[in-house]
């Protein structure tokens, strides 16, 4: 699997993501600087977690305008796969490559603890490592993870099977319909708030996040 990780000023989970991708594929991902305007030959582009540009205006808002985002958009339009985790998810919504928006957590505090996620469909490259309905543990670390969209959009997402993950153990941040992650309409773009990449090694407390990466590798081998 040829993966690339985009690094924005303020990105801070690119190393975690690289470890997870390399662990699954045996191949170190390319690190892509936000000012680049073209992508190398890739199967997957990942927008990792962090605080791009300090998240000072709205999380992900400034990064969504980075030069590389045009290339990422083109890549997706040509059929490439894009994964956004946490700040990456926020950037994808700000870039309107995924629907909705991520507001302040309902409790108004940064949340850093494990949550349980339910896999809503398993027939995508991002979720094929699980079965539908599976639950897994994932660390969260965000202040703005409260997924919001208008009711019509939410209904459409549900109707089209575009909810990727849902919080299964309460709703930690107040997200509409407990949504933790969504797909684009062609299922080629996926964004989620929690961090499967931080749970891929028994030493760090478990391998619950590994099916995401193993599934991706399998998909791209075929």
């Amino acid at each position: 699997m040829k993966a690339g990780i985009v690094v924005f000023p303020g990105t801070n989970r690119e190393r975690d993501m690289a470890i997870a991708l390399k662990g699954a594929s045996g191949r170190a991902p390319a690190m892509l600087w936000h000012r680049e305007t073209a992508l190398p030959d890739l199967d997957l582009v990942v927008l990792p977690g962090g605080f791009s540009h300090g998240d000072y205006l709205r999380s992900g808002a400034m990064a969504a305008h980075a030069p590389i985002m045009r290339a990422v958009r083109d890549f997706a339009a040509r059929g490439g796969y894009v994964l956004g985790v946490c700040n990456g998810f926020q950037i994808l919504t700000e870039a309107q490559m995924l629907p909705g928006a991520l507001l302040r957590n309902a409790g108004m505090r940064f949340l850093s603890h494990d949550c349980r996620l339910r896999v809503e469909r398993a027939d995508t490259v991002f979720t094929r490592g699980w079965s539908q309905g599976d639950q897994f543990r994932a660390p969260m670390a965000h202040g703005d993870g409260n997924y919001a969209a208008d009711p019509d959009t939410l209904d459409r997402l549900e109707g089209e099977g575009r909810v990727a993950f849902r919080y299964a153990d309460g709703n930690p941040n107040g997200s509409a319909r407990a949504i933790a992650g969504v797909f684009s309409d062609d299922l080629r773009i996926c964004g989620l708030m929690p961090h499967p990449e931080d749970l891929v090694d028994p030493l760090m407390g478990g391998i619950d996040g590994k099916p995401l990466f193993d599934g991706l590798v399998e998909a791209f081998v075929q």
Partner: protein
């Protein structure tokens, strides 16, 4: 323009004698800028004038110590050609004035001390002391401080993995915020601050200079009173985003051969960094303030030299690498400006708008800095505690203690700290006695802890100082790590009061004894004095003396670290002697409302023997969980292990001859609980090693069953344990 005279010098915090000394060095009346430079360099914060004579008595060397005190942070050899670089620093006074920014900039400052030496920061810890939960101000301060620590650490992407929190009325008007950062560097790529190379350019990088925090260093050295309100405009605002860029840019530059010397601009910003770099290198330095990147207009030389704007560094660079360095900082969108060069004059010369604003000989500025051996007065030895009756019974006492402010779950706090970023956190907060992080691309693990029991120090400073060191050593041992070295943060009251100076001297003596006995040298630290609040009636209340200890240990294999959670179907064994010491215990405070008696005694030889034995057993693989005993004593320790492991235990304890409440809640030192398969085997080995050991019972079920037969469910314990913080904070 103010006239410079003795009156102004006094306003700047210089005594008449100090000002006379200044005049002697200068041979003339100083300019305002010069007076400012002297006043910050000779402040308590920068000169350690009251503490230096005592600090010198601490042990600072060991074969594995690469750099002890004197550099920006301590450096120890952790094997495989790598070094751990770490330090703790206080931001107490700023955190009272503006809790969020005070705590945030505290984290930012300590991060810079560590990455300035070439280390990538891998973990943060925070040792916090707040006023009484009943004080209406406490909630606001806790909220701001916790948000500030998290806001900064989360954004820079350094995991916050541990710390400690106490509540006590003595901190009502003066909370303590002590932040610790640990970084890792290659031993052959450690950067120091001594400037060298006459003519070499001096480069300023990072954020622009504004009028932030002017006289912060002297504020940190002044006692706290109603004037605090008036001092508010000195608040500094942190920008963790810029700090993150600064870390990446500096590490990128450090991978080249461009840097001759580098130092962060901490307290007293441009002044202390330039004076210290030139002074250490024995060279002179010329600064051209017109070249300093400025955020505000019309700043004077005085303001620029004393500004404490955050996220700035000073670098002496090889002239032929300046363009390459500039390109790196351009890439990270940070200001980069050559603001001066090194000279052979031995003076610091500051120019601004065509005028020389300061010209000071560096050697006497450093060598003749005031140094005081202030009078000390001994504190009376605490009267020993007589026999205590038990008014509530074991069960209720346990539930009370497990939910009391000093023991209750801190999850509300650490759930706001990103503890996993970096993907190397092996033991998160609450999971073990010390946090454990793996070093990326190796098997090595670092174990990290902060410890101090201020009520013990207040009762007996020497013992309390030693106890803080011993507890840190114990916490590292309890995960299986080899304790290597200590950083400290000595928070005390007004050193001009002999009793306070006596506490300070005694605490250091105790720390030194423990460090020597445990081969656990002090490699870095920070002193914060004048921590007291002036009352409306004019009297002052000092904080409890709080020498916070940050401990660092290493594991060859991070995977061998264990946590505190009980495992099902095993035996729990207590190592170490139990006498039932209730003096200064939390049981005494929470059940009887008393804070008195002598704190538990410490036997450093037994401490070492027991700890070395525990570590050897853990690394042999025989121990599935381990917890040292501290606040609340034996039964609290057992309950913490049970809650962490979600497994109960049936306690089956032979009579000890000690009254039950003293047995279960006494805070005797040097003890560990070990969860093992083979209790008899462990006890036999312990005996042979000269260590007292006794079985406590078999794990299983979902409650703590006392020898009396009474069972306290884990659910009840958990509810009590978790209630305190949400009840205080989420109203």
């Amino acid at each position: 323009m103010k006239t410079v005279d003795q009156g102004l010098a006094r306003e700047f915090g210089l005594t008449a004698d100090e000002y006379a000394k200044l005049l002697g060095i200068m041979g003339r009346t100083p300019s305002l800028t010069e007076l400012g430079i002297f006043s910050v360099m000779w402040s308590e914060h920068c000169s350690y004038k009251s503490s230096r004579v005592w600090l010198k008595t601490l042990p600072t060397t060991a074969p594995w110590v690469i750099h002890g005190p004197g550099e920006n942070a301590g450096v120890v050899d952790i094997g495989q050609g790598l070094a751990a670089i770490f330090k703790m620093e206080s931001h107490n006074h700023p955190s009272f004035i503006e809790p969020y920014q005070g705590a945030a900039t505290g984290v930012g400052g300590i991060l810079r001390d560590v990455f300035t030496m070439g280390a990538r920061p891998v973990a943060n810890l925070n040792a916090l002391r707040f006023g009484s939960p009943e004080n209406p101000n406490t909630r606001r301060i806790v909220d701001g401080v916790v948000r500030g620590v998290g806001g900064y650490g989360n954004c820079v992407g350094v995991p916050t993995v541990g710390g400690e929190i106490n509540f006590h009325p003595s901190y009502d008007g003066n909370p303590l915020v002590n932040a610790m950062t640990v970084g890792v560097a290659r031993q052959d790529r450690i950067f120091l601050s001594a400037a060298a190379g006459i003519g070499n350019p001096v480069v300023y990088v990072g954020s622009r200079t504004g009028r932030d925090g002017i006289h912060g260093a002297t504020m940190a050295s002044a006692e706290f009173d109603e004037d605090a309100q008036a001092k508010r405009p000195t608040v500094q605002v942190g920008d963790p985003f810029v700090e993150k860029l600064l870390i990446e840019a500096c590490l990128e530059l450090m991978a080249t051969d461009a840097i001759v010397a580098i130092q962060d601009m901490g307290a007293a910003g441009l002044t202390s960094s330039s004076v210290e770099m030139a002074g250490k290198g024995g060279v002179g330095i010329d600064l051209d303030l017109d070249a300093v990147p400025q955020r505000e207009t019309g700043m004077t030389a005085y303001e620029m030299m004393l500004s404490e704007s955050q996220e700035r560094m000073l670098i002496v660079i090889r002239p032929d690498r300046a363009d390459m360095a500039r390109a790196i900082f351009d890439k990270w969108e940070l200001d980069f400006a050559v603001i001066g060069h090194l000279t052979d004059t031995g003076h610091i010369v500051v120019r601004h708008q065509g005028r020389v604003e300061a010209d000071i000989p560096l050697a006497p500025l450093a060598d003749e800095a005031p140094l005081y051996r202030r009078p000390t007065a001994p504190s009376p030895a605490p009267a020993p505690l007589g026999a205590m009756h038990d008014p509530v019974g074991i069960e209720d006492a346990l539930v009370t203690l497990i939910g009391c402010p000093d023991i209750a779950s801190r999850a509300w706090v650490w759930d706001q700290y990103d503890s996993t970023v970096g993907g190397q956190t092996v033991r998160r907060p609450g999971a073990a006695d010390a946090a454990v992080v793996r070093i990326e691309d190796t098997t090595l693990g670092l174990a990290l802890t902060t410890d101090c029991t201020p009520r013990y120090v207040a009762a007996d400073a020497r013992l309390g100082g030693a106890q803080a060191v011993a507890e840190a050593w114990r916490n590292l041992t309890a995960v299986g790590a080899r304790p290597l070295a200590v950083t400290d943060n000595l928070n005390f009251g007004n050193p001009e009061k002999p009793e306070v100076m006596g506490q300070f001297a005694d605490a250091i003596a105790g720390m030194g004894e423990a460090c020597r006995a445990l081969d656990f040298p002090v490699v870095s630290g920070n002193v914060s004095l004048y921590n007291e609040t002036r009352q409306p009636d004019g009297s002052t209340v000092s904080i409890l003396p709080t020498p916070a200890i940050g401990g660092l240990g290493v594991l060859e294999d991070a995977g061998s670290a264990i946590g505190i959670g009980l495992k099902d179907g095993q035996e729990l064994v207590l190592l170490g002697a139990t006498a039932g010491a209730l003096g200064q215990s939390l049981w005494l405070r929470e059940i009887h409302g008393r804070e008195d008696g002598a704190p538990p005694s410490l036997d450093l030889a037994a401490e070492r023997r027991t700890g070395d034995f525990v570590r050897e057993r853990i690394l042999s693989g025989a121990v599935s969980a381990c917890h040292d005993l501290s606040d609340g004593g034996l039964l609290v320790g057992i309950a913490e292990m049970a809650m962490a492991g979600e497994v109960g235990i049936k306690l089956d304890v032979p009579a000890s001859g000690i009254s039950p409440h003293a047995y279960w809640f006494g805070e005797d030192q040097g003890r560990y609980l070990l969860c093992v398969d083979d209790a008899a085997g462990l006890i036999e080995r312990a005996r042979r090693a000269g260590i007292e050991a006794r079985p406590l019972g078999r794990t299983g079920g979902d409650g703590l069953t006392l020898p009396s037969g009474a069972t306290i469910s884990l659910a009840r314990l958990r509810t009590a344990h978790r209630a305190f913080f949400p009840a205080l904070m989420d109203r």
